[in-house]
């Protein structure tokens, strides 16, 4: 009873906690803006490496562009996963979140949404520039942005599961990629497949529908796994 009274008094409902968390995380993130920019720079640098390593020939680059862009986006997302729970774990905020009477589900949803707003969305907005540098035709660029828009939230959700599982451990970087990368494979296949189909002038609705289905599935199931993982990580 008291918990209900408290939450009523502080005026924080289910939507309230969601909004409050996003506002707080956004403010915190913008105060350390280098954390936001670094994954983006990484994305640009990795994509730049491919023409240098393979060939600057436009016909070949056009062919590998969907894969290169998607793999780079995936790695950039992976590197940005640190900002999800790490600092909140270190200063004890995460523990307070688990203890609070507010539903953890909305708080987690807010954290993942913030992560996407600060990593997936900028990657999506930056991608046309890099796609043009890799000579991807206009039709492909449109599809690339669309797939990134649908696919990067999935990356944030699945990444959050891995991040929550490893948050209490010391050296997490390599372990996290080992856990998360295999789970990213379906998204990678359907997304780069869609871009390839679009550049070849084939229909892409099937690929996009499957990506959407994966997104729907992760939005429903991943928060449960994230909550469980956080409870496990903080139980030690």
């Amino acid at each position: 009873m008291t918990t209900q009274v408290q939450s009523a008094q502080s005026g924080v409902g289910k939507v309230g906690i969601f909004g409050a968390m996003i506002r707080r995380d956004m403010t915190a993130a913008f105060r350390h803006s280098s954390d936001l920019v670094n994954p983006l720079i990484f994305f640009v640098v990795v994509v730049t490496l491919f023409p240098l390593a393979v060939t600057p020939e436009s016909a070949f680059l056009r062919e590998i562009a969907p894969g290169v862009l998607w793999v780079s986006a995936l790695l950039a997302t992976l590197l940005s996963l640190d900002m999800l729970f790490q600092s909140d774990f270190q200063d004890g905020t995460l523990e307070q979140m688990l203890l609070s009477p507010q539903p953890l589900y909305s708080a987690i949803l807010a954290k993942v949404a913030t992560h996407w707003l600060l990593s997936g969305l900028p990657l999506t907005l930056l991608s046309p520039l890099l796609a043009m540098m890799l000579f991807l035709p206009a039709e492909g660029i449109k599809t690339l942005m669309l797939t990134l828009l649908i696919g990067t939230p999935v990356l944030s959700f699945i990444g959050a599961i891995g991040s929550a599982l490893t948050v209490g451990l010391r050296k997490t970087g390599l372990l996290l990629s080992l856990l998360v990368l295999p789970l990213y494979i379906p998204v990678l296949i359907f997304a780069s497949g869609a871009v390839q189909a679009a550049t070849a002038g084939l229909p892409i609705a099937g690929h996009l529908a499957l990506l959407g289905a994966i997104l729907a599935l992760t939005v429903v199931l991943a928060p449960l796994a994230i909550v469980t993982a956080l409870r496990i990580s903080l139980s030690g």
């Binding site: 490893t166 080992l178 856990l179 295999p182 494979i185 379906p186 359907f190 199931l221 496990i232 139980s235």
Partner: protein, 245 residues
């Protein structure tokens, strides 16, 4: 039913019953594997297209079966441990991971050996090969996470959750790579259809599959027993066993 379930959760009871079952499974595995191997390699007829190189399927197919069943068992045991906090299930899940990973590796290697004469390449980016490779990655992830924690309880719960997340992903991964690229032949042995090969060929395969399952069970029991003894070393029944031996 529930009493049996609770009994199964007791390490002492499991140790006793598995001690009695272990010799049976070991002997059965040895017999079946010897009979199966001799039959498969010496007696079964050669394939009219592939000649003798097809015989590797007698190792490859059972290994691939077990790679998948092993993951399923690991995930189920993990879920039981996660939900009912059953210690024994944690131990079974932990013991499953390295065995399953080895069988996955074996399936991949035998597949490569078979692929060289048949497809002309050690490795092709075919759907089944790729999904087996991903399965290996999932196993390795569970093993890595298992060893990353110092606290056993935490390690068991975290890797159980990862195994479950992987289990949800397996069908998605399977279908995604299947639509992506397919070269591998369809399954040679299914439960629902009559096998497409003659009895002299599939009978030894069946024996090998059963033999592999017995072998898996025996190794799983051994690993689980050792792990149990280590975990329960402060309890009375373990001390008694040590005193007796």
């Amino acid at each position: 039913m529930w009493r049996w379930f609770h009994k199964l959760g007791s390490p002492k009871w499991f140790y006793a019953i598995s001690g009695r079952l272990l010799p049976w499974f070991s002997v059965a595995a040895m017999l079946l594997l010897v009979i199966g191997t001799v039959w498969a390699l010496l007696i079964a007829p050669a394939d009219y297209q592939q000649g003798n190189s097809y015989r590797i399927i007698y190792i490859h197919v059972p290994a691939a079966f077990l790679a998948q069943s092993g993951y399923l068992l690991m995930a189920i045991a993990g879920a039981v441990g996660l939900i009912w906090k059953m210690k024994l299930a944690d131990v079974v899940a932990k013991s499953c991971a390295p065995i399953g990973a080895s069988f996955t590796l074996l399936a991949l290697i035998t597949g490569a050996v078979w692929g060289k004469p048949t497809w002309g390449a050690w490795w092709v980016w075919d759907a089944r090969l790729t999904s087996m490779l991903v399965l290996l990655f999932l196993y390795l992830g569970v093993v890595a996470l298992q060893s990353a924690f110092t606290d056993r309880n935490q390690a068991a719960r975290a890797s159980a959750l990862l195994a479950l997340v992987g289990l949800v992903n397996i069908p998605i991964i399977k279908y995604s790579v299947e639509w992506w690229n397919t070269l591998h032949q369809p399954a040679s042995l299914t439960l629902t259809q009559r096998p497409s090969m003659p009895a002299e060929m599939w009978m030894p395969l069946l024996i090998m599959v059963v033999g592999f399952y017995c072998f898996f069970a025996a190794v799983l029991m051994m690993r689980t027993r050792v792990e149990l003894l280590d975990r329960e070393r402060r309890t009375g029944w373990v001390k008694e066993i040590i005193r007796e031996s």
